[in-house]
């Protein structure tokens, strides 16, 4: 089959899966899990086919556009259903479909007792379809369509347990912030169209070089694209939805809010690199905000007590690295980190899901501990994920993170500061990751862990919402009554095992001085970049950076071990000593409050003003009320004449006729 066929098949399978699962909801539900998994697995196989086809082609022919049909063809605006198959999109399709297939497999068991099982898989397939549409789109139209679909899928899945008010509120928050991003993307597209006269990717990129560097419109367009990317990728200041998105089921957190959807912003920036290179101001803003995000998220990760939220903040932080990388023209490094991050972060979330299941839905780290012996497999996966995330050699995160930092430093000037802050972030990463692992798996086993060691899975006497403690149902719209841990379910074990392998060996693609598979593979996409080939860290920087990164990671793990295993009174003492700092971090830098004050309340005030003054007084009182009042007054006057007195009518008639007669007589004479 040709490359084009494979490209369409990649999209077709998840779409078919969505429709089939949604329409066959009457069939036994277990079937839907396997059906969904199969659809995504086939999509992954098609992506592999596309990869091999692409590799058979010469470097010049590795950007292929395939058009299914035209919606409209006008001057410049050619709305076509077109896919762009190039190394970047095929790479993204591989990551998305590969990780998604494993997470589907995991969900087959994990969501088993949920009454919304069928709905879950229909949504999940729909999400994968949307995400693949986003990464394969060949023009801005389908990019925007995919972008919006992905936001909708995210909303549906965050609010999956729709009877939980916390979940629906989180879904709405995510959707609203994502729509802000959509608006940014659409407006950015407008500016780019204005400058290049085309909405087709390749044509628009071709036109990018003719635009003057730092052109005002282009900078505005790129900044608006950044708004889109930041909302989707949860970067400061549009990040507040991501921690709340952890209200969704754990596989959703793993798939959407760690491995795939939130990296869409990174993909967007990498895809739009010809514009960002012509608008260095926008790229610099992106790099600085990415760096700020990675630090802010890492500091919050140090104090959060919710297991899933720790990983969520770590996701934000790691995406901060990627954004910093791609905005500093370290494209291959950013995408490399995107891939390794997808492996180890999905793995960490899956392991966290297993722990949460063993805790019967409880997510608070304060109540966990000592699961090491009770859940050896989960523990092993968590350790592998934790080592990869912290960046310990030779795990995947080690190579990818350090490559970003060393390339950012190679940009020189003030980029060096970003690189150094990146090193600080990697130390924090090691500390908060291992704080989580030590607190959940080490020290004295809690009651749930002891019960599991005796071979019995703990069940809570009542189902409660982990966020608020409210007692809940186990009907549709709530988590099911049964919990599933990785130790007892082959499908969860298989999915986690494969991801663990990825987290261990994934770094082999890009070992400095040894391999640069990904760099070479992505070259055709970035052939027009000014930095792609030139940006090369010096030898000392490469090796020094790797050594420093490894040292920082190990140091962070050692510090975490000292604080949360050996000297466990110390964290409380530190917290008491720096109470103000702790409060600041625990309240997430007051970003929610800030946005509430700056945006939500003024808008609410405007809304109230519009309702009370504009709507009630102007619209209802003047515009609508004025004519209505005039008609009412006029009709009241006319009604008064209709008295029903026959003699009165007769008198009017007489007076009228006499008056008319007199008038005509006078007029005639």
């Amino acid at each position: 089959m040709s490359l084009q066929t494979y490209g369409w098949l990649v999209l077709l399978f998840p779409l078919a899966g969505t429709v089939l699962i949604a329409l066959s909801w009457r069939l036994p539900s277990k079937l839907h899990g396997y059906l969904g998994t199969l659809a995504i697995a086939l999509s992954f196989v098609s992506a592999l086919g596309a990869l091999s086809e692409l590799r058979d082609r010469g470097a010049e022919e590795r950007q292929v556009v395939t058009v299914a049909w035209d919606y409209a063809s006008t001057v410049g605006v050619d709305a076509q259903l077109s896919l762009l198959l190039d190394p970047l999109s095929v790479f993204m399709a591989l990551v998305v479909s590969g990780v998604s297939a494993l997470i589907h497999l995991y969900s087959v068991s994990y969501m088993d007792s949920d009454r919304g099982y069928t709905r879950f898989f229909a949504y999940l397939n729909y999400f994968v379809f949307s995400m693949l549409l986003l990464v394969l789109a060949g023009n801005f139209f389908f990019l925007i369509v995919g972008w919006a679909f992905v936001g909708a899928a995210s909303y549906l899945l965050i609010s999956f347990w729709y009877r939980r008010t916390t979940a629906t509120a989180a879904g709405i928050k995510a959707f609203v912030i994502n729509v802000v991003g959509d608006v940014g993307l659409v407006l950015g597209t407008y500016f780019i169209f204005k400058q290049t006269g085309s909405l087709d990717f390749l044509k628009a990129f071709g036109g990018a070089e003719e635009i003057a560097r730092g052109d005002g419109d282009l900078v505005a367009g790129c900044l608006l694209l950044l708004v889109g990317a930041f909302a989707k990728s949860a970067q400061v200041p549009l990040h507040t939805w991501l921690p709340d998105a952890m209200e969704g089921p754990t596989p959703v957190s793993a798939l959407i809010h760690a491995a795939t959807m939130v990296t869409a912003g990174v993909y967007l920036i990498a895809r739009m690199h010809p514009f960002f290179e012509q608008a260095p101001v926008a790229a610099d803003v992106g790099a600085i905000l990415g760096c700020a995000t990675l630090l802010i998220a890492a500091t919050i990760g140090l104090v959060v007590t919710d297991l899933k939220r720790v990983i969520a903040y770590s996701t934000m932080s790691q995406i901060g690295y990627m954004v910093m990388g791609v905005c500093s023209a370290a494209y291959a490094a950013g995408l490399f980190h995107l891939m390794t991050h997808a492996f180890f972060k999905a793995l960490l979330f899956m392991a966290a899901g297993s722990v949460i299941a063993a805790m019967a839905g409880e997510q608070n780290l304060d109540r966990m501990g000592g699961f090491r012996r009770a859940m050896p497999f989960t523990f092993g996966c968590m350790v592998i994920g934790g080592l990869a995330l912290a960046g310990v050699p030779p795990f995947a995160g080690f190579f990818s993170k350090d490559e970003i930092i060393s390339l950012v430093i190679a940009r020189e000037d003030w980029h060096v500061v970003l690189g150094i802050l990146g090193f600080a972030g990697s130390f924090l990463t090691a500390v908060y990751t291992w704080r989580m692992i030590f607190r959940a798996f080490f020290n004295e086993p809690v009651e749930q862990a002891r019960e599991l060691e005796r071979g019995h899975l703990y069940h809570a006497p009542e189902h409660t919402n982990p966020a608020t403690g409210e007692v809940e149902d186990t009907d549709v719209g709530f988590p099911g009554p049964e919990h599933h841990i990785a130790e007892r379910e082959w499908s969860m074990k298989l999915a986690m095992g494969l991801l663990a392998v990825g987290a261990i060996v994934g770094g082999g693609l890009q070992v400095p001085e040894v391999t640069s598979e990904l760099h070479n593979f992505l070259e055709p996409t970035f052939h027009d970049s000014r930095f792609y080939e030139e940006l090369e860290p010096s030898g000392t920087m490469t090796w020094g950076g790797l050594a420093l990164g490894a040292l920082l990671a190990l140091g962070g793990i050692a510090l975490a071990y000292r604080l949360w295993v050996q000297d466990r009174a110390r964290p409380a003492a530190i917290r008491a000593r720096f109470a103000a700092v702790h409060r600041f971090l625990f309240n997430k830098w007051y970003f929610d409050e800030l946005i509430d004050t700056l945006v939500v309340r003024p808008f609410a005030w405007c809304g109230r003003f519009a309702r009370d003054v504009f709507e009630r007084v102007v619209i209802n009182g003047l515009v609508v009320g004025g004519p209505a009042g005039a008609v009412r007054a006029g009709s009241a006057a006319v009604r008064a004449v209709q008295s029903g007195f026959l003699r009165y009518y007769a008198a009017l008639l007489l007076v009228g006729v006499t008056g008319l007669g007199l008038y005509f007589l006078l007029a005639a004479s």
């Binding site: 006319v638 009604r639 209709q642 008295s643 029903g644 007195f645 026959l646 003699r647």
Partner: protein, 99 residues
């Protein structure tokens, strides 16, 4: 005798009829006054017809009489119906058909 005298009588009868309609409340009397007004018109028509030496006015007067007879038949019928339903025979009381 010139036509003016006829017209003066006709106007006088018309005014009596009109005044009667305005001041009286008994529908029977109103009907009578209405007849007065119609016949004032007839008188004027006949007077003009004689003054012009032309028969058209006579024809008109006859037509008016036929119409007046019909009108009286309907009006008396209404009054009998009102009486039968024991409603007040007073046009000021009968004012339900107002807007």
């Amino acid at each position: 005798m010139s036509v003016e005298w006829y017209l003066v009588v006709s106007a006088l009868v018309f005014c009596i009829g009109a005044g009667g309609i305005l001041v009286r409340r008994n529908p029977l009397v109103i009907l009578l006054c209405l007849e007065l007004m119609l016949n004032a018109g007839n008188l004027a028509l006949v007077a003009f017809a004689r003054a012009h030496g032309n028969q058209d006015g006579h024809i008109f007067a006859l037509v008016v009489m036929v119409v007046a007879a019909c009108e009286v038949a309907v009006g008396l019928g209404l009054i009998v119906a009102i009486y039968r339903r024991r409603l007040p025979i007073d046009v000021d009381e009968l004012r339900e058909l107002q807007g």
